[in-house]
Point group: C2
Chain length 409, copies 2
């Protein structure tokens, strides 16, 4: 018998039929002898509907009132699922964040969980009752309802699993696990049985948007085994867990990519200390997120400085950088929007040399020019022309044999 926290997202809760389907899944886990605590999101579309109402009154209104309004979506879901569970013969009880209580700070709209009372939930489990907890929300010391920010229901699930000492936190979604890459780009993409927290962080932040990043960080920190699986198909999903030294790790777990970036290059910058700060400081102050940063030291006394930002931010960023370029006496600013970032991710590359050169060779063999390179301990990212995206992903997928499961050591 295990204690399992299951989180069902907005799509899984999207209609009366789907809610009844979720109830069936919960019932089947319970029938196998497990204790189940459920976390639910608002029905798909509901949070947007409420946000739209609030924004049409006051687009930048008091965040406390925004939270009071939008937290109701998850509250409704808890009641509906509890009704469906009881109808399916499973005793159940709905909980808002406050009723649990999930205590947070008072940073409305992006609150952080501070503590969770587990007493009532554990008593329910012991009594055979399934608690159905509203995701995405908590309560501040003032008694005000808080929300954790978009996708926060994943965080609620992981935090509850950590507080309850659950054996596993299962995140139910509309995909059946984490893949080696996007199956729409490489049909031979393979579902991973397991992946480490660190790899998942790199995969998620690089564009494989399955899990909220914060929840993965949280799961890693509290060592909560996290499983991503499908609400709509049966299957083992992908287990996200600690690195298991007793097992031969695959070299590479997957290939992530991101089409949303644009490249900005300041050319002919006088090469002296403080250039990076002079260029990126004003961009950061304008609340523009910077992803990759590369500085090429040229032979003469000038250098080229390149970074990437989200495409939506490129115009604002260029405006700022052109000002800086004039001050620094740089030769000019160039942008490129027809780019993609492709990343190899794998904890195995820490202990294996030659991954980078195998990657660059494979791309070169297909005539794909690399515009930018950035590396970390467990990933190598390259920026290439966007028309090569599919070719690059398939080439790397084949080169690193991702279509077949690794052999255990």
């Amino acid at each position: 018998m295990a204690l399992i926290v299951q989180k069902y997202g907005g799509t899984s809760m999207g209609s009366v039929e789907r809610i009844e389907h979720v109830a069936g899944k919960v019932a089947s886990w319970r029938d196998k002898g497990h204790q189940v605590v459920v976390v639910v999101s608002a029905m798909s579309g509901e949070t947007d509907r409420l946000l739209k109402l609030a924004r049409s009154i006051a687009p930048r209104g008091n965040p406390r009132e925004y939270d009071q309004i939008i937290s109701s979506g998850e509250q409704i879901s808890t009641g509906l699922l509890a009704l469906a569970l009881e109808k399916a013969g499973v005793p159940a009880r709905s909980y808002t964040g406050r009723q649990v209580a999930i205590r947070t700070d008072d940073a409305h709209g992006k609150a952080r969980i501070q503590s969770i009372d587990t007493e009532r939930l554990l008593a329910d489990c012991k009594a055979g009752v399934v608690p159905v907890v509203a995701g995405f929300q908590g309560v501040a010391d003032t008694g005000s309802v808080t929300t954790l920010g978009r996708g926060g229901s994943d965080t609620t699930g992981v935090a509850l699993a950590a507080a309850l000492g659950a054996d596993e936190c299962q995140i139910y979604t509309d995909v059946d696990g984490v893949y080696t890459t996007d199956p729409r780009v490489e049909p031979r993409a393979r579902r991973l049985d397991r992946i480490t927290f660190e790899e998942m962080l790199e995969m998620a932040s690089l564009g494989s948007k399955i899990l909220q990043i914060r929840s993965v960080e949280f799961a890693g920190k509290y060592k909560v085994p996290l499983r991503v699986l499908s609400t709509f198909e049966d299957g083992p999903g992908t287990l996200i867990t600690l690195e298991d030294s007793g097992m031969e790790e695959p070299l590479i777990s997957g290939i992530a990519f991101n089409r949303d970036e644009a490249q900005i290059t300041m050319v002919g910058v006088p090469d002296r200390p403080g250039i990076a700060a002079a260029i990126l400081g004003p961009v950061g102050e304008a609340n523009i997120e910077i992803d990759m940063i590369v500085q090429n030291v040229a032979g003469d006394s000038t250098t080229d400085f390149t970074f990437t930002v989200h495409r939506n931010d490129v115009e604002r960023a260029v405006e700022i950088v052109e000002g800086v370029a004039r001050e620094l006496g740089a030769a000019g600013v160039r942008t490129a929007q027809d780019i993609v970032k492709v990343s190899l991710v794998g904890v195995g590359m820490r202990s294996h040399a030659g991954i980078a050169s195998q990657m660059f060779k494979a791309l070169a063999a297909e005539g794909i020019n690399i515009r930018m390179i950035s590396t970390s301990e467990i990933k190598i990212s390259v920026v290439i022309e966007d028309k090569y995206l599919e070719l690059a992903v398939r080439t790397l997928h084949t080169s690193f044999r991702l279509e077949s499961a690794p052999l255990s050591g």
Copy 2:
């Protein structure tokens, strides 16, 4: 400076524009120097939408979960109005029933208010903040959300006014007050400046559905002056208050009527004790509400026994009564659906003789036959053929000079 509780119903909160209009009304009362506490209903249609969702899963599901679901409608309204007030320059703060706290018993779906914490609301008022409180809901000792039953937002308003010692509880709705009768039937119907709690109870229960009856009882019990006024038109509305002995009461305050009843008569019932209980007991057990009851003692050893029920219940009631008739050896059961009940209401009739005979004479002069009569201290009801409804109402309105305001003593 007065402390005023204002309650706005679902129609008043029905859209973003209307919510902003309500904010304007609250602001104008506050600008006049009053302290205002607001109670809101869910946006019109919202509670029905949520009920439909819940019913489509479990039509007779756990009432606790129903309350968890439907209470969110009012919660959303509080946040939206608080946003609109702040936008209008009025500091405001939303409260769920729990956040106040409004404590109730745990009779989900029809909970009774037990106590209200006024500390935070009074502190808000003192600080110039307008509290916006969710109507219709409270919290049980268990921490579960409860609801007070349909129309319960009126009750919340009155209960808050009583607890806060407010000078007045204003119920904003889509009519501009209480009328002497329905203006669609008698165009000369006049808005009453004031009416007593008891008269209002008779008017409301007899079909002038403006206020939830329970809230009027509550207001009477705690002597909270209650005012009904329009959200959409300016005007003084109607003040519902205690009888004021310093003032000459009008004889009659108004004429109510009800088209929803049907008459059931058991004829030729052996006249012996216990007949009423034998007939009405089984009807009550079937959860059918009985309104008027009249027993005619005939000259011989049998009697006729007549009562009225809602038209929707008449078939079920007749089935039960026919069984009883066979047991009692009655001559038969007759029904009439083409009837209406018309009632004269007024505290003045307590101290004035001759009201009943003036009423019967006026009806007789128009050839209107009376089928049933029932009287109480402050009302006289007659059942007549439904085709005479408009004629009867106009005749009585004229006979008792309701079109002109009474002269003060």
